[in-house]
C-alpha cells in the first residue's frame, strides 16, 4: 500500500511541475534561439526578454555539423541561429535561410563593411555578422624555444606528447593543407592524400584530439602547443600570461560567424529585433567581455581594453588577414573529408 501512495504522490507532484512550465507564458512570443555553447553573455538574453516582453527558448550545439543535423531534424522550429560561414552557405544553397528586412536592424550600419558581403552571403541579404576570428597556434612560452612562425611547430618532434590537435576535421586538415601550401577548400584527392599522410605521421606526437578541453589544458600547462581558434586562445592568454598565439605565415583560416533566420521561423520580426539588440554597441561590448572573439562592430572595437586591442588574436593586423582563407561549403566532396579523417583517426 505504501508503495502505491508514494507513486500517487509522485505522479501528482510531477503533473504539478509540468503544468507549472506551461502556464504563465501563454501570450508571450517564444523565440527559439540556437547558438554555440559559451558564445553569448546570458544576461543579454534576460535583458531582451524583459525589455521586449518576449520569451527566449535558448539551445546550444557543439559543432556546425551538429547544428545542421539539429535544424534539419525539425524537432524545434528555430527563429534565430548563430553559426559559421561554410555551414550557413550550405543552408543558404539549400534554400533554408530567409532574406532579412534590414529596416528592422538599424544597427547594421555599425557592422564593418569588410564583413557585410562575405563568400557565404555575397550580396549581404541573409545574415548579420556576429563575431570573427582566425585559426592558429597557441603555445606555452616556457616550453617552446624562440618565436615560432610556421605550422611546422605542430610537427616538431621536440614536443612529442605535448601537442594538442582538434577533433574537428576541417580545422585539422586546414593546418595540414596550409603547411603543404594548398587551399583549405581543396577537393583534389592527391592533395588530400598528402595531407592525410602528414596527419598520420603527426599522430605519435599528438597528446590528444580535443575541442572544448584545449583552453583549460593550455591554461593548466598540460600541453605545450595547440591548434586553436583565436577567441579561445585570447581567453586562455587572459588567464595564463605565458601563453602566446600566432597565425602561421603559410596562411590559415579566417572565419566569420553570423546570425540568420531559418525558414522554419514563425517570429521573423522578433528575431530581427533580437539581431538589432545584439548589434547595439553596449551589448556588443558586454558580449566581447564574455566570448573574447574579434568583433565586427566598428564602434565597439575602439572601446575594448588595451589588452585586447594589442592582442594579435583579437585584433590581427591586415597582413595576417591577407594570408588567410575562408572555409567554403564543399557540397558532396565533404564525404571525402569524412572518409579521410576517419582513416586518420582509425590508423
Amino acid at each position: 500500500m505504501k508503495k502505491k501512495t508514494f507513486i500517487l504522490v509522485l505522479a501528482i507532484a510531477l503533473s504539478l511541475i509540468f503544468t507549472g512550465c506551461s502556464s504563465g507564458n501563454k501570450d508571450k512570443v517564444v523565440l527559439n534561439v540556437l547558438n554555440y555553447g559559451e558564445y553569448i553573455d546570458m544576461d543579454l538574453l534576460d535583458e531582451f526578454e524583459k525589455s521586449f516582453d518576449v520569451k527566449i527558448n535558448y539551445e546550444i550545439y557543439p559543432t556546425p555539423e551538429d547544428m545542421y543535423t539539429k535544424v534539419k531534424s525539425g524537432a524545434t522550429n528555430f527563429d534565430l541561429i548563430i553559426s559559421s560561414d561554410y555551414m550557413i552557405e550550405r543552408l543558404i544553397n539549400e534554400g533554408w535561410v530567409l532574406e532579412l528586412d534590414y529596416d528592422n536592424i538599424p544597427n547594421y550600419q555599425y557592422i564593418d563593411e569588410d564583413f557585410r558581403k562575405t563568400a557565404f552571403d555575397p550580396e549581404g541579404k541573409y545574415t548579420v555578422p556576429y563575431f570573427w576570428g582566425t585559426l592558429g597556434i597557441l603555445y606555452d612560452t616556457t616550453k617552446v624555444d624562440g618565436t615560432p612562425t610556421s605550422w611546422d611547430l605542430l610537427w616538431d618532434e621536440g614536443y612529442a606528447g605535448q601537442i594538442l590537435m582538434m577533433d574537428s576535421q576541417r580545422d585539422s586538415f586546414g593546418a595540414a593543407l596550409k603547411k603543404l601550401g594548398y587551399s583549405l577548400n581543396t577537393t583534389d584527392e592527391s592533395e588530400l592524400e598528402e595531407a592525410k599522410q602528414l596527419l598520420i605521421q603527426q599522430k605519435p606526437l599528438v597528446l590528444a584530439y580535443v575541442v572544448d578541453e584545449v583552453r583549460d589544458m593550455m591554461i593548466g600547462g598540460e600541453a605545450a602547443v595547440a591548434l586553436l581558434w583565436s577567441g579561445e586562445a585570447v581567453a586562455a592568454m587572459g588567464e595564463n600570461e605565458n601563453l602566446a598565439y600566432y597565425v602561421p605565415e603559410e596562411g590559415s583560416n579566417v572565419w566569420v560567424d553570423a546570425m540568420f533566420i531559418p525558414k522554419t521561423s514563425t517570429h521573423k520580426k522578433e528575431a530581427e529585433m533580437f539581431m538589432n539588440f545584439l548589434t547595439e554597441k553596449e551589448n556588443t561590448l558586454l558580449n566581447i567581455d564574455y566570448v573574447w572573439y574579434s568583433t565586427v562592430h566598428t564602434e565597439a572595437i575602439n572601446e575594448v581594453d588595451e589588452f585586447l586591442f594589442d592582442n594579435p588574436g583579437f585584433n590581427p593586423s591586415d597582413d595576417i588577414l591577407e594570408r588567410t582563407e575562408m572555409f567554403r561549403d564543399l557540397g558532396d566532396s565533404l564525404q571525402l573529408y569524412y572518409r579521410i579523417w576517419t582513416e586518420v583517426l582509425a590508423n
Binding site: K72, Q169, V206, L207, Y209, E222, L345, A346
Partner: protein, 281 residues
C-alpha cells in the same frame, strides 16, 4: 493469465513498442536505404551500407573495440569476483552498508566520474604531482589505452560485482558444509561447488560489463583523447558530424549483432538454468 492481469500489461506493451521496437525498426530501415526514409515513394533500398562496413578500415575499428572491451571485462572479473566473494562473507548486519558504499559512486553522473580520472591522471594531475614531489619525473598516464581501461573498469565494476554477489548470497550454504563434511578442502570446495554455482552470476556480469564497454564513446573520448577510433565513437561521428544516418545505422545494427552473438555464446555455458543468472536483474 486472466483478463485483469493482461489489462495491466498493456501500458508496458505500448511503452515497449514505442521506445524499443519502433526505434530498432527505424534504425534497421535506415541501414538498408539511401538518404531519407520519410517518403515512401522515393525510398531506395540498398545493401551498400553493410558492404562498406566490411572495409578493412571499419573491421579494424570493430576488432580494436572488441579487444578493448574484452580486456576491460577480464579486469572487471578478476577484480570483481573476489570483491563479491568478500562482501558475501561479511556479517549480514554490515553487509548492506558495505554494498551501499560500493554502489554510492554510481549515484553520481558517469561523466563527472570520468572527468575526475582526468584530473587524477593528467600531466599536472594528482599522481604526477605526487611523483614530482618525491623527485621522480612525470609519467604519461592520460590519453592512452591504459587510461581508457582504467576508466572502463572503474565505471563498470559494479555491474560485475552485483550479479556475482547475488548468485553467491543466494547459494545454499549447506552445500558448502556438505562439501567440507565429505572431506573436500577449501580449494576443492571453491572450484567444484562455489564457482559452478556462481557461474550464472559471472555470466550476467560479463554480459553487463561487455555490452557498455564495447559501445562506450565517452570514455575513449575523454580518457583516450580520441587518439584511436572505437566503434561507439564511429557511430556517434556518423550520426552527429557526418550526418550519414544510413551507414551509422548499419554500424549500429552490426554492433547489436556482435553483442547478441557474444551473449548467445555465453548463455551456452549457463548449463543449469536453476541459478537464473539472467533473471537476477
Amino acid at each position: 493469465m486472466n483478463k485483469k492481469q493482461k489489462f495491466f500489461a498493456y501500458p508496458y506493451v505500448v511503452w515497449m513498442f514505442i521506445f524499443i521496437v519502433l526505434p530498432i525498426v527505424l534504425v534497421f530501415l535506415y541501414s538498408i536505404t539511401t538518404k531519407e526514409v520519410n517518403n515512401i515513394k522515393t525510398i531506395n533500398f540498398t545493401l551498400n551500407n553493410y558492404k562498406l562496413f566490411f572495409d578493412p578500415l571499419y573491421i579494424g575499428v570493430t576488432i580494436r573495440s572488441i579487444n578493448l572491451a574484452l580486456v576491460s571485462t577480464i579486469f572487471c572479473l578478476v577484480l570483481g569476483y573476489p570483491i563479491a566473494f568478500i562482501i558475501s562473507k561479511i556479517n549480514i548486519k554490515h553487509r548492506n552498508t558495505v554494498l551501499l558504499l560500493f554502489i554510492l559512486p554510481m549515484w553520481m553522473n558517469m561523466l563527472l566520474r570520468t572527468y575526475a580520472w582526468m584530473t587524477i591522471l593528467g600531466n599536472n594531475g594528482i599522481i604526477n604531482n605526487f611523483l614530482n614531489m618525491l623527485g621522480f619525473p612525470s609519467l604519461r598516464l592520460l590519453y592512452n589505452n591504459s587510461a581508457i581501461i582504467i576508466g572502463m573498469v572503474y565505471n563498470f565494476l559494479p555491474f560485475m560485482v552485483l550479479p556475482i554477489y547475488t548468485a553467491l548470497s543466494k547459494m545454499d550454504q549447506h552445500l558448502v558444509e556438505a562439501s567440507h563434511d565429505l572431506g573436500a578442502d577449501n580449494r576443492t570446495t571453491f572450484l567444484r561447488v562455489i564457482l559452478p554455482l556462481s557461474l550464472p552470476g559471472v555470466i550476467s556480469g560479463i554480459i553487463m560489463v561487455f555490452m557498455p564497454a564495447v559501445s562506450s564513446f565517452v570514455i575513449p573520448r575523454l580518457l583516450g583523447g580520441n587518439r584511436s577510433l572505437y566503434i561507439g565513437t564511429l557511430i556517434e561521428n556518423l550520426f552527429l558530424v557526418t550526418g550519414d544516418w544510413n551507414f551509422g545505422s548499419a554500424v549500429a545494427i552490426m554492433m547489436m549483432l556482435i553483442i547478441l552473438v557474444s551473449m548467445s555464446i555465453l548463455n551456452r555455458f549457463d548449463v543449469d538454468k536453476e541459478g537464473g543468472g539472467s533473471n537476477l536483474w
